[in-house]
């Protein structure tokens, strides 16, 4: 393998090298610094006599005398089922003192696109044990459903709760070993403290056994963040489509990923798109998110829950905006609910699971699920609307009916949304919590629920049993 000592320019994360042989686009590169350290990178631009290299670990320590080796292949992820239970860094190297990983195969991390003709439409319920999600924004296998959060909000607790509790209901029913669940956790730029929280929780609850963890921390190189999710997704695809696992991929925090993209774009002096982010960010994000899915004739699935913190809680910021344009709905974490102490503070009104309708109902969850969700949504929305008015005119000025909806909205937050991060509610629990609430309203108001379900589940002024909550 030829070594070059022909670096002409170093700029931000980029290194420019003169070459005298053709170098492939995207090819992997190793750069050895004068003090013997090896840095890895990837070819960004290739012409007949020079290349631009994006380094993963930053350029500090690299000088013009560093030697550059082109490895003749694009970046690969060594995959094997033995990865389950392992903790890797953001470049895919083990950091858990475990045994050496003997790969079954090495896969290109830039996954090929799934042929739309080969996809299977997602419609199988994943139970997260969280009412706000299962009841009203149901997740299905093969979906990509991001969590839109803000800085300082407990999105990590929600992610952990999902990672712990997620099941495919069949799994428990017939013990079908083939629908085993695996969690791939891809962390990008999270703090060491957050990382510890995650790891403690994973180890304490035993979730690690069925997980593969990729950790790029806040003080790890930013450029590496562009690689971490691809390693994670390559592993996910392998486990899902080769080994038949139902894989849940949690990627956090996509905002840090996008910042890294912006940094590389700026270093390349590209014409920036909106708010300085690259014009190709939509395409780039799609190349990650679209790796969720199911394939006809195969058992497994890749489901994605990317987490992002919206800068200034602004949903029109390019990061949540472009994400929302690609994903199949969103779960919104709400600052007000959080300050009220609601756990998890999910605002169901702007949340949406676009694939919910095909994943619920008779034979999937329960026949009344759709109606209950619609009615809860409508009643809560009505109560929520009235809150603005009540601030102006006061409660006394409102009709009995209006007051009833105001009460409903409060109770909805306190008993349905509120459940605590430690409580796992199955879909039956969630739907009964829903009926408790609906039973606060007179049956004439339940215009979105079929008569038959009202008869079966509505209880006349029944005892207001509290839904399970751990505090």
């Amino acid at each position: 393998m030829k070594e070059y000592k022909t670096i002409t320019e170093i700029s931000g994360p980029l290194v420019f090298v003169e070459t005298d042989e053709p170098i492939g686009y995207d090819e992997l590169v190793e750069i050895e610094t004068p003090n013997g350290e090896t840095r890895r990178g990837q070819v960004l631009d290739s012409s007949s006599d020079h290349v631009a290299i994006q380094t993963f670990e930053g350029t500090s320590g690299i000088d013009r005398n560093s030697s550059v080796r082109f490895l003749g292949e694009t970046m690969k992820m060594p995959v094997t089922e033995d990865l389950l239970g392992r903790v890797l860094d953001g470049s895919g190297d083990p950091i858990d003192d475990g045994p050496e990983i003997v790969p079954e195969e090495r896969r290109d991390i830039v996954g090929a696109a799934i042929n739309p003709y080969a996809r299977e439409y997602p419609e199988e319920f994943i139970q997260t044990g969280i009412s706000a999600i299962d009841g009203m924004n149901t997740l299905v296998r093969g979906q990509k459903l991001p969590i839109f959060s803000g800085s300082g909000l407990p999105h990590n607790d929600i992610a952990l709760q999902i990672a712990r509790q997620a099941t495919v209901p069949e799994e428990s029913d017939d013990g079908d070993e083939d629908s085993e669940f695996a969690v791939i956790f891809g962390a990008m730029g999270i703090t060491a403290e957050e990382a510890n929280e995650f790891m403690d929780d994973f180890e304490r609850t035993g979730a690690l056994e069925r997980s593969v963890v990729f950790m790029n921390l806040a003080d790890d190189p930013a450029v590496e963040r562009t690689v971490t999710p691809r390693l994670a997704l390559t592993t996910a695809e392998y486990l899902a489509f080769d080994k038949g696992y139902q894989v849940l991929v949690i990627l956090t925090d996509m905002t840090n990923y996008c910042e890294a993209l912006r940094e590389i774009g700026a270093a390349r002096e590209e014409v920036p798109g909106r708010r300085g982010y690259p014009g190709y960010m939509y395409t780039d994000l799609a190349s990650l998110y679209e790796r969720a899915g199911r394939i006809k004739g195969l058992k497994g699935s890749v489901t994605q829950i990317p987490i992002l913190t919206m800068p200034s809680d602004d949903i029109t910021h390019p990061i949540p905006d472009l994400t929302g344009y690609i994903t199949e709905g969103q779960i919104m974490v709400d600052r007000d609910l959080n300050s009220q102490g609601i756990q998890p503070p999910v605002d169901v009104l702007p949340s949406l699971s676009r694939l919910m309708d095909d994943g619920i109902g008779e034979g999937l969850t329960r026949a009344d699920h759709g109606d209950v969700a619609d009615q809860l949504f409508a009643a809560y929305a009505e109560g929520e609307d009235l809150r603005d008015l009540v601030n102006i005119v006061g409660r006394e000025a409102l009709s009995d009916r209006d007051n009833r909806f105001l009460d409903f909205a409060d109770r909805f937050e306190e008993t349905f949304i509120q459940q605590g991060y430690g409580t796992d509610r199955d879909i039956e629990d969630t739907l009964s919590a829903g009926w408790e609430l609906l039973s606060m309203l007179p049956t004439e108001e339940l215009n979105r629920v079929d008569e038959e379900f009202i008869e079966q589940y509505y209880h006349e002024d029944g005892e207001r049993v509290e839904a399970t909550a751990d505090d």
Partner: protein, 592 residues
């Protein structure tokens, strides 16, 4: 266009540089827009710039691993589509490669590179029935015979548009009926030209016609708010801009299902894979409301999803509209949906920035507006060269960043299209679907289509619509006051207007795309539902004048049935509505 059908390459060059989908080559002798094969794997690309000895190519496949020094071959032909029987009931990528075929050839669920397949099956045979005889004179695009392409559509085999000098005819010297492949000759002209079922046409060039005419017929949509307030014409153009999750795709799919077009070309341009799968799964099962046959029998799908190569995303709208024009030439009414044109514009932006072109507004190339208008200009109601009339209607979704309509793609589109269906995130969040904002949307076809609705649906169509618009306008004003003082502070007549407006919104404007019945509402039903709300309004105001309080008026037994009219099956709807109207009248009159 495909390598499979174009074995001869004409010139060879060498790759000089690779940057994502953009490759430069030297010593390649290929004209602009020529298709070339790039590298050892023969990745398909198109020439997009020539400067001295350096040719710039956009590549329709992933380029990772491709190196300078590898060869580039020119085919000597511009990017073209294969036109002929077999396009319906097909699903293509952005450069017309059939996705089912690719899966088979690649033997994988994932899209590999360097694999090619012709746009139409070269082996299949079709039953050709001539419509001309030896000795007949034919001109360009004249129909020489038909082929039953699907259960719904007779494919017309035409003389290619560039066979003869403009305006001239030639005699048929041979024509044969029977089963043929698309490459076999079915007729011959005295000029020696041989006519096959397959022809090719460069995608970036509109197929010629005689004349564009003023559209006078609606493309009915099955959607109450569209037909009722903002109708689209056959041959018209429409834009559906809206933030994510506001209902662009659901609206486009509803149109693809229920619009009264003969042919539908549905382009998933840079959007989700699962959405295309949904169409692939549903359309063969769903009935075409026109013929009762499977919807797929009138549909051609183009799927270049967001994770598929960006250059093929740029070309997919052209592939689609060229196919649409071909069926228009046969005399069909074609509806084309492009979801989303913003992704196409972004593909232009991405390639332009790789070319280091001078960026215009928000980084889009300066030619963005020109490209958009060229594309929408290919829509229209046309008199074809062969004497038939056909139309291409174009409905483009637009995905403005942050839902802000002031951005370049939305603005440039609005300057061209005549129908504007503005989606609104507030309505969507309230689950008011379709979330089309009735204050912002418009259709410039409304007046010219009124005669058709008057003649074919109801004489009072325009007046009744005006009534609805007036009520909605009044409601908008009243809502501003309600925000401040609450509803109960309004006088009774205004409260009643608000109630009527609520029925208009819930029973008429809203339409549930997930309900088996409600999803499709024929124009007569749209008219009748509006009619019963209007008679409620008239009777209710009489009652109010006679001193009946508002809550008694809205409390009559019949009222909840108003919101259910949309879900009453078509064959029971008239009777249901008639009975409802009688009950409303009786119940209200009994109050005073």
């Amino acid at each position: 266009m495909s390598k499979a059908t174009e074995p001869n390459t004409e010139s060879e060059g060498v790759i000089e540089s690779v940057s994502g989908p953009v490759v430069t080559a030297v010593d390649l002798e290929a004209p602009m827009n020529d298709v070339v094969y790039v590298g050892h794997e023969g990745l398909m690309g198109e020439v997009i710039e020539i400067e001295g000895n350096v040719t710039t190519i956009q590549v329709y496949e992933e380029t990772s691993g491709v190196s300078p020094g590898e060869p580039v071959e020119s085919t000597g032909a511009p990017l073209s589509v294969d036109l002929g029987p077999g396009m319906l009931d097909s699903i293509y990528d952005g450069v017309q490669r059939p996705l089912d075929e690719l899966q088979e050839k690649m033997d994988s669920a994932f899209l590999d590179r360097g694999v090619d397949a012709p746009g139409i099956d070269l082996e299949a045979t079709w039953e050709f029935t001539p419509t001309v005889e030896v000795g007949d004179a034919v001109g360009n695009t004249d129909i020489v015979g038909t082929v039953p392409e699907t259960e719904s559509i007779d494919h017309k085999v035409m003389v290619p548009p560039d066979s003869l000098p403009e305006g001239e005819t030639a005699e048929i010297t041979a024509v044969e009926s029977g089963r043929f492949t698309v490459e076999e000759t079915v007729a011959e002209l005295e000029t020696g030209d041989e006519i096959q079922m397959r022809q090719q046409w460069p995608v970036r060039q509109a197929r010629p016609t005689v004349d564009k005419q003023t559209p006078t017929e609606p493309l009915t949509s099955g959607q109450r708010i569209l037909d009722g307030l903002f109708p689209l014409a056959k041959g018209g153009t429409a834009a559906i801009p809206g933030p994510f999750g506001s209902g662009k795709t659901v609206a486009q799919q509803s149109l693809a299902k229920f619009a009264d077009a003969d042919i539908v070309v549905y382009i998933g341009c840079g959007e989700r894979g699962n959405e295309m799968t949904e169409v692939i799964d549903d359309f063969p099962e769903l009935p075409d409301p026109q013929t009762g046959n499977a919807l797929m029998a009138r549909t051609c799908l183009i799927a270049n999803t967001s994770n598929m190569p960006v250059a093929a995303r740029e070309s997919c709208v052209y592939t689609g509209i060229t196919i649409a024009e071909f069926y228009r030439d046969m005399g069909y009414d074609v509806a084309l949906m492009a979801d989303s044109t913003s992704r196409w514009a972004e593909a232009m932006r991405e390639i332009s920035s790789r070319l280091e072109e001078m960026p215009g507004e928000e980084g889009y190339p300066a030619y963005l507006a020109a490209r958009l208008s060229e594309f929408y200009e290919r829509a229209g109601y046309f008199e074809n060269i062969n004497g038939t009339e056909g139309s291409v209607s174009v409905i483009g979704a637009v995905s403005p960043p942050g839902g802000d309509f002031s951005e370049p793609v939305t603005q440039n589109t609005l300057r061209i299209v005549k129908t504007f269906w503005a989606l609104d995130s507030d309505l969507a969040e309230r689950r008011h679907f379709p979330a089309i904002n009735w204050n912002e949307s418009y259709s410039l076809y409304r007046d010219q289509l009124d005669p058709w609705f008057v003649e074919n649906v109801a004489e009072n169509w325009p007046e009744q619509r005006q009534w609805a618009i007036d009520v909605l306008d009044e409601e908008a004003e009243l809502q501003e006051i309600v925000q401040l003082v609450g509803k109960d502070a309004l006088p009774e007549d205004q409260q009643l207007t608000l109630e009527v407006a609520r029925f208009l919104k819930e029973a008429w404007l809203q339409q549930n795309a997930l309900d088996d019945v409600d999803q499709d509402c024929p124009p007569w039903k749209t008219h009748q539902i509006l009619g019963v709300i209007k008679s409620f309004h008239d009777e209710a105001f009489d009652a109010l004048d006679a001193g009946v309080p508002v809550d008694e008026i809205t409390g009559i037994d019949a009222v909840p049935r108003l919101n259910r009219t949309g879900t009453v099956p078509d064959d029971e709807a008239s009777a249901f509505i008639e009975e409802l109207e009688t009950d409303i009248t009786e119940q209200l009159r009994s109050l005073y």
